[in-house]
């Protein structure tokens, strides 16, 4: 499952997870809407290893600024709260899985 976060939740969840993938998105963004079900699939496949979160950049602009999100969708991969890598735009499931595997 992909959990929706606001700026307050972020510290207690995404920042403390061993591995987190945070999806920065917006309601007005078409590719974001298409990416959401792909991330849901991935979150099931990686349930043991990776926590998946979603952040609406309009609701949480401070977080978007902090991670320098300049295009959505933007996935940010964190390990123990530390920024590791980002992936920009829609990508098919297989390629995102390879991206996650490469960063585990």
């Amino acid at each position: 499952m992909v959990k929706k976060l606001n700026t307050q939740d972020f510290k207690d969840t995404a920042m403390t997870a061993p591995v987190a993938v945070v999806d920065f998105n917006a309601t007005w963004c078409g590719p974001c809407r298409m990416l959401a079900p792909v991330l849901e699939e991935l979150s099931d496949k990686y349930a043991e290893k990776v926590s998946f979160y979603s952040v609406d950049v309009d609701e949480s602009p401070a977080l978007a600024m902090q991670y320098r999100v300049s295009s959505v969708p933007c996935l940010v991969l964190l390990k123990d709260g530390k920024f590791i890598d980002q992936s920009i735009g829609f990508r098919p499931e297989g390629q995102l899985a390879a991206w996650i595997d490469g960063n585990l």
């Binding site: 963004c29 298409m34 079900p37 792909v38 300049s70 295009s71 920009i88 829609f90």
Partner: protein, 292 residues
């Protein structure tokens, strides 16, 4: 929503040929393009090496394509495809505000000669955007530079001016831009896009312009932007002899796959792509293998 067996993008010889073959295989087809067929075909003076149509003029060839599609009961949907998303066991095609669904996609868009600016591709998503309506809200109250390659892009610049504090517009064409008064029109040719600590810079021969975001808007969409994740080889899509791309269920044919840019080669590849797409559908539906 109807999920088509095969969505074919493009109505040149490759797309038309793919559609005719797909129809022969009893597949449901969504053919996206123009009733005028292909501009390149229409403008061709005379074609001497297309079997069965000796010394045919481009306009006559387009008319013959149209007639053949009509007689096979294949309609052309006149919509521009903005993006194709691989959703797992199907594809979502964005046509304006609408979405269409298909099990497979055949790309027959022709080759787009869009030369990118130095820095543009490397900074895409990191300060460079191709979609003002997508990313504008991220630049609320900030400065945007817009490089527009046709007057059609002015609407996007006008939209940005409603959201951003400042918009600079670099027209890459001769016509006088018709833009809201707040937009600063700069008649200089961008040579490079750079990124520094403070933001983005558009460099021209005459000067440098700072902005938080740079929007590059041109009509021709590169294939890797049309289909996120698609493997390309320069301006071309990488395919094998079965016209398969790196994405299962996506096929490409015609000029898009590379030279020679010949109508008869395009038609041949369209035929192969449709046969491969039909085989892919039969295989996945029989085996239930979603990952293909």
């Amino acid at each position: 929503m109807e999920r088509y067996d095969i969505a074919i993008i493009g109505t040149g010889p490759a797309g038309v040929s793919a559609a005719l073959t797909a129809r022969n295989r009893n597949k449901s087809i969504l053919l996206l393009g123009s009733r005028e067929m292909s501009e390149k075909v229409v403008k061709a003076h005379e074609i001497r090496n297309y079997p069965g149509l000796p010394f045919v003029k481009g306009e006559e060839m387009a008319a013959a394509f149209r007639d053949q599609l009509d007689r096979m009961g294949i309609a052309v949907t006149e919509k521009r495809v903005g993006a194709v998303y691989a959703m797992g066991d199907y594809f979502a095609l964005q046509t304006g505000e609408e979405m269409q669904e298909a099990k497979t996609v055949i790309l027959a868009t022709g080759v787009v000669q869009a030369k990118t600016l130095p820095g543009e591709e490397a900074l895409l998503g990191r300060g460079v955007s191709y979609c003002a309506t997508c990313d504008a809200p991220l630049y609320r109250g900030r400065t945007a530079a817009v490089i527009g390659y046709s007057p059609r892009e002015e609407a996007e610049a006008a939209f940005l001016s409603e959201v951003c504090a400042k918009v600079m517009y670099f027209p890459m064409y001769r016509e006088e831009p018709d833009l809201p008064s707040g937009v600063e029109v700069i008649r200089e040719t961008p040579a490079e896009i750079l990124k520094g600590d403070a933001g983005m810079t558009v460099k021209t021969a005459e000067g440098t312009y700072s902005a938080d975001g740079v929007f590059v808007l041109r009509e021709a969409v590169a294939p890797a932007q049309l289909v996120p994740g698609l493997e390309t080889d320069g301006a071309h899509v990488a395919v094998n002899r079965r016209m398969e791309t790196n994405l299962p269920g996506v096929f490409a044919c015609g000029d898009l796959t590379g030279t020679p840019y010949q109508y008869v080669k395009a038609a041949g590849e369209g035929n192969v792509a449709a046969i491969s797409a039909a085989a892919y559908i039969d295989r996945t539906e029989k085996g239930g293998n979603k990952n293909g």
